[in-house]
C-alpha cells in the first residue's frame, strides 16, 4: 500500500482529533494520590449525648497516633439549619468534647468553623442549636466560613470542570482539619458523611445560599474537588442519633448509637455507609475518592472498637438512592 503525503496528513489529523476527544476520559481527574498504605477506623458505642462522651472520645482518640502538639486544629461540624426536634446538625456536645480532647493533646488553638449552606443567619443557627452559649462558655472561637476572608485556590482535581474556587483562609491555614459530620441520608448526594460535609467550607458570600453552583457542577464532582483541595486529616462522625429518609433537612431521626473515628475520610465514609446498610462503592464520591483520597477496601482498613456490621434494617433513602442498599 502506498501512503500518499495527503493521506498521511489527513490520517494524522484524524488520529489527533480522536485522541484529543477521547484521552481526557481516560486520564485521571486528580493531581495526586494521597492514599495511605493502611487506614485506621474506630467505631465507638455511645447511646446518648451526655458528659460521658468526653471520656469515650478521649479513649477513642488514643487508638490513633495523633500529634496536634502546637498545631491549629479546625473542627468542621455539619451545621445546615435549625429545625426544632430534628437531628440535622452535629451535636454540640460531641464538638465540645472533641475541642477539649485536642486541647488536652496540646493543640495550640482549637477553632470551630462552618458555613451553613441553607441558612444565611449563622448566628441564629448557632444559638438555636445550642452552640453559641457552649462555645462561649468554653472560650472556643467560631469562624463563619460563609464570610471569612477568601483565597483563590487552584483545585487539585477536575471533576466539576472548574479550575479555581475561592475558599476560606481559616480552613486553608489549618494544621489539622477534623471533619465532624452528622451521619445522614441526603436526597441529592445519597449520604452526608465526612467528605460531603466539606462542602460547608465553600463560602456563601461568594457563591450564594444555597451554594447552587455546586449543584449545577454536580454534587458528587464538587465533593471530590473540594476534598482534593482541602485535605481532611481526621474524622469524628456523629452517629449517636443519625438521620434517614429525606435528609439533609427533612429526614427522620435514626438512633444508631455510634461515633466513628478515622484517620482517612474515605475509610470513615465507607465504614459509616456500611453501618447505614449501604454498599460504599455505590456512592459515587466514595468510590471515586478511593482512587486517590483514601481507602475503601476492608482489606486495608485497620478496624478498632466495634466491627462495621450493617443494621438489621438499612437507613431509608429517597427512591433515587435505593441502589445503595447492600444485597
Amino acid at each position: 500500500m502506498i501512503l500518499s503525503r495527503r493521506k498521511f496528513v489527513v490520517g494524522a489529523a484524524a488520529l489527533a482529533a480522536g485522541a484529543s476527544v477521547s484521552v481526557p476520559f481516560f486520564l485521571p481527574k486528580y493531581h495526586s494520590d494521597r492514599r495511605a498504605k493502611r487506614s485506621r477506623v474506630a467505631i465507638l458505642n455511645v447511646e446518648q449525648y451526655s458528659q460521658r462522651i468526653d471520656e469515650v472520645l478521649a479513649s477513642g482518640l488514643r487508638l490513633f497516633r495523633i500529634n496536634v502538639q502546637g498545631k491549629t486544629v479546625i473542627l468542621k461540624p455539619n451545621l445546615v439549619d435549625y429545625i426544632l426536634g430534628t437531628a440535622i446538625n452535629t451535636h454540640p456536645t460531641l464538638v465540645l468534647a472533641a475541642a477539649e480532647s485536642f486541647r488536652r493533646m496540646g493543640a495550640k488553638c482549637v477553632i470551630v468553623a462552618e458555613g451553613p449552606g441553607h441558612q444565611r443567619d449563622t448566628e441564629l443557627v448557632l444559638s438555636e442549636s445550642g452552640y453559641r452559649d457552649s462555645l462561649r462558655d468554653q472560650a472556643i472561637n467560631f469562624v463563619d466560613l460563609n464570610r471569612d476572608e477568601l483565597v483563590r485556590m487552584q483545585l487539585r482535581a477536575s471533576y466539576m470542570g472548574m479550575k479555581n474556587l475561592w475558599l476560606p483562609r481559616t480552613v486553608l491555614g489549618a494544621d489539622f482539619l477534623v471533619s465532624m459530620p452528622k451521619i445522614k441520608a441526603h436526597h441529592w448526594a445519597g449520604v452526608t458523611l465526612s467528605m460531603k460535609n466539606m462542602l460547608g467550607v465553600v463560602p456563601g458570600a461568594r457563591y450564594g445560599w444555597p451554594k447552587n453552583i455546586l449543584h449545577w457542577k454536580g454534587i458528587q464532582e464538587s465533593i471530590l474537588d473540594v476534598c482534593a483541595t482541602i485535605p481532611v486529616h481526621f474524622v469524628i462522625a456523629d452517629g449517636i442519633i443519625a438521620m434517614e429518609g429525606n435528609g439533609p433537612l427533612n429526614g427522620t431521626a435514626r438512633p444508631l448509637g455510634k461515633i466513628v473515628l478515622a484517620d482517612d475520610p474515605v475509610a470513615a465514609d465507607a465504614t459509616c455507609a456500611r453501618l447505614m446498610g449501604f454498599e460504599p462503592d455505590r456512592i459515587v464520591h466514595i468510590r471515586e475518592g478511593a482512587k486517590f483520597l483514601g481507602n475503601l477496601s476492608l482489606a486495608v482498613i485497620d478496624q478498632a472498637g466495634e466491627d462495621p456490621k450493617p443494621p438489621t434494617t438499612p437507613f431509608r433513602v429517597v427512591p433515587e438512592f435505593r441502589h445503595l442498599y447492600a444485597l
Binding site: 443567619d121 448566628e123 464570610r147 458570600a205
Partner: protein, 316 residues
C-alpha cells in the same frame, strides 16, 4: 454620630447602644473605603459595604464619600459588581445592593444605570427553555414553577428568593422605565410571581425551596423579611398575609440580631408595630462586639427604620 437621625422613641431611649454600634462601624472602615464581612478581615465585601453605606446615611461625611467612591471604583466593566474586592465574577445580589446604596449619589448615576442594565440581562438559569423543560419533566423533586423566574446569586445558577427580592427593590427605585429599560415592569412582575411561587406552604420563605421530595421545608426569618420588603405594595395578597403573620409570631422569639433587624424592617414596611422589637434588638448583649459587619449595619438600619425603608426604596 449626629448625622444619624434617630426617630423612633425606642431608639431615643437607647441611643448609647446605637452610637456605640455606629462608632464600631466607623472604626471598621478600610482605608480604601469599603468594609470587610468580618471584623478580623481586611478584604472588602460588597454586601457589607452597601449595607453600611446605607446605615451611615448619604450625607457628606468623609466615610460616606469614601464608601461611595469605593463602590464606583470596584464596579466590573460589564456593569455588575463583584461579591468582594478582587473577585473575578459578577454577583447579582450585590449589584442590586450597590444600585440601591448609590441611589442618591449624582456622580454615580452612570455606574448605577449600567448596573441596572446588567441586572436586566441577568436571569435565573430556569429562564432558558432547556432547563425549564428539564424542571417541568425530569427533575421535579423541588416543587416550583420554572416559568416564574427571577435573579440568581451568581450567573449560571437558579433564581433564589433573596437576590430576586433585592433586584425588585433596586428596580423599584427607578424614576421611570425608559432609555432601554422599558421591560423593567415585566421583569419585576415576573420576579414578584416567582417570589409568590417559592413561598413555603404555611407562609414565609427560605432560600427558595418550599417543598422538596414532598416535604415542607421551614421558612427563615431573614429570607421572609427580605421577600416581604420587596412585596411591600402587595400587603393584601394571601401569601404576604400568611408570611406577615408567621414573621410577627416569630420575631419576638429571635435573639440573633441579623434576623431580628430584617424582621423589624419588613414588619415596619407593612405598617406593623415594631417598637418593642427595636427595644429587644438594642437590648441584645454586646451588639458592637458582633464580628459580622453586615449585622451591625442592619442593627442601625432597623433602629431607624423609617429612614432605612426610604433608602431601600420601600414606599411608606
Amino acid at each position: 454620630m449626629e448625622r444619624f437621625r434617630i426617630k423612633s422613641a425606642a431608639v431615643k431611649s437607647d441611643g448609647v447602644t446605637l452610637n456605640s454600634v455606629l462608632a464600631e462601624l466607623s472604626r471598621r472602615q478600610l482605608p480604601a473605603g469599603g468594609w470587610a464581612a468580618l471584623r478580623s478581615s481586611v478584604l472588602a465585601s460588597l454586601e457589607s459595604t452597601c449595607l453600611t453605606t446605607l446605615a451611615i446615611g448619604s450625607d457628606d461625611s468623609e466615610e460616606a464619600r469614601l464608601a461611595q467612591e469605593f463602590l464606583v471604583r470596584v464596579q466590573n466593566p460589564n456593569g455588575s459588581w463583584p461579591a468582594f474586592f478582587g473577585d473575578d465574577q459578577d454577583g447579582a445580589w450585590v449589584t442590586s445592593l450597590a444600585a440601591i446604596a448609590l441611589r442618591d449619589v449624582a456622580t454615580a448615576i452612570p455606574a448605577r444605570l449600567s448596573g441596572i442594565h446588567w441586572l436586566m440581562k441577568c436571569q435565573g438559569r430556569e429562564a432558558n427553555w432547556f432547563w425549564r423543560w428539564k424542571f417541568l419533566t425530569a427533575d421535579r423533586h423541588v416543587r416550583f414553577d420554572p416559568d416564574k423566574f427571577g435573579w440568581p446569586w451568581v450567573p449560571d445558577t437558579c433564581s433564589w428568593v433573596v437576590p430576586t427580592a433585592f433586584a425588585i427593590l433596586a428596580f423599584s427605585q427607578l424614576p421611570c422605565s425608559c432609555g432601554g429599560l422599558e421591560d423593567v415592569p415585566l421583569r419585576v412582575d415576573l420576579g414578584i410571581e416567582m417570589l409568590m411561587d417559592r413561598a413555603c406552604p404555611g407562609g414565609g420563605w427560605n432560600a427558595g425551596n418550599g417543598v422538596v421530595y414532598g416535604s415542607t421545608v421551614a421558612p427563615h426569618p431573614d429570607d421572609t423579611a427580605i421577600a416581604l420588603l420587596a412585596l411591600n405594595n402587595r400587603t393584601q395578597h394571601p401569601v404576604v398575609q400568611a408570611s406577615l403573620e408567621w414573621l410577627e409570631r416569630t420575631a419576638p422569639t429571635l435573639t440573633a440580631p441579623w434576623s431580628l433587624a430584617w424582621a423589624i424592617l419588613a414588619l415596619a414596611a407593612h405598617d406593623r408595630a415594631v417598637g418593642p422589637l427595636i427595644t429587644s434588638l438594642l437590648g441584645l448583649p454586646d451588639l458592637s462586639g458582633n464580628a459580622d459587619t453586615c449585622t451591625l449595619a442592619l442593627v442601625c438600619l432597623a433602629a431607624d427604620c423609617d429612614r432605612a425603608l426610604a433608602s431601600l426604596g420601600v414606599k411608606l
